[in-house]
Amino acid sequence: MVVDLPREGEADALFHALADATRRDILTRVITAEQSVSALARHYPMSFAAVQKHVTVLERAALVTKHKRGREQVVHVNLDAVRRATRLLDAYEQLWRQRTTAIDRILKEDREGK
């Protein structure tokens, strides 16, 4: 079976984290390069505390990790976790692709008069 999917119950935390536009944007930025929370906060019309909360939701879903550097908190992406989330939807799409191919095979038999 599929390996490397989120453990039971973790999928909801992942999707909850990804279901918010600001959090997806934060994630997109830290995939490109690590960012401090204060640097991230400058991109959004909300308080530092609000941005920090979004980072915490991403952290709980294991999509990012945070560590201290001097007086700053630096946010890193956890690429493996991001890949697991996208793989879930991809795997389901793949199922429909396989079904489509199988229906097409049945129709082909019609045409060949089997």
Binding site: M1, V2, V3, L5, P6, E8, G9, A11, D12, L14, F15, L18, A19, R24, L27, T28, I31, T32, V77, L79, V82, R83, A85, T86, R87, L88, L89, D90, A91, Y92, E93, Q94, L95, W96, R97, Q98, R99, T100, T101, A102, I103, D104, R105, I106, L107, D110
Partner: protein
């Protein structure tokens, strides 16, 4: 491959899948309505489906299982909520116990199938709305193969750059 598009909405846990086939809507309707045809395509290649019941009427139930490579069985069910042959089919899905009965009748997700005639066949649109992500995870665990490698927009592109 006759796949036209697929759209994934992470926010709404919705997958929309559009495919076109070189046959009229009446013929595509049969692959849903006839359980012997349905079981030839519903399960993934290594997990063929067997429909023990398929009452294709509003309020009707379907019970099926998929058999894995080691003989393990994954059971699930549908209840049809709307039928307009040969253009529209709606049903709720859930997981079943070893006797084929619903595990939790409230833990369901919805499927809406629309068939439209095109100049040379049928466009089939399937929309699946999940209540929570664990349903998707469980379904995928029920019979997906490895080796999935399809794009997922922006994040996927960025992941490729990050490698």
């Amino acid at each position: 491959m006759p796949v036209i598009s697929s759209t994934k909405d992470v926010e709404k846990l919705t997958l929309t899948f559009v495919a076109e086939f070189a046959a009229a809507p009446d013929r595509i309707w049969q692959v849903w309505a006839d359980p012997r045809q349905l079981e030839r395509w519903w399960g993934p290649p290594t997990w063929p489906a067997t429909f023990e019941r398929h009452d294709f009427t509003v309020g009707g139930d379907s019970r099926y299982y998929m058999t894995g490579p080691e003989g393990q069985k994954a059971r699930a069910w549908w209840t049809v909520t709307a039928i307009e042959a040969p253009h529209r089919l709606e049903f709720t899905n859930g997981f079943a116990d070893d006797n084929g009965e619903p595990l939790d009748p409230t833990d369901v997700f919805r499927t809406v199938v629309t068939l439209e005639a095109t100049t040379d066949g049928t466009r089939m649109t399937t929309v699946e709305v999940f209540a929570h992500a664990d349903q998707m995870e469980r379904l995928i665990g029920m019979g997906m193969d490895e080796g999935v490698s399809l794009a997922m927009g922006q994040i996927d592109g960025l992941l490729a750059d990050a490698d």
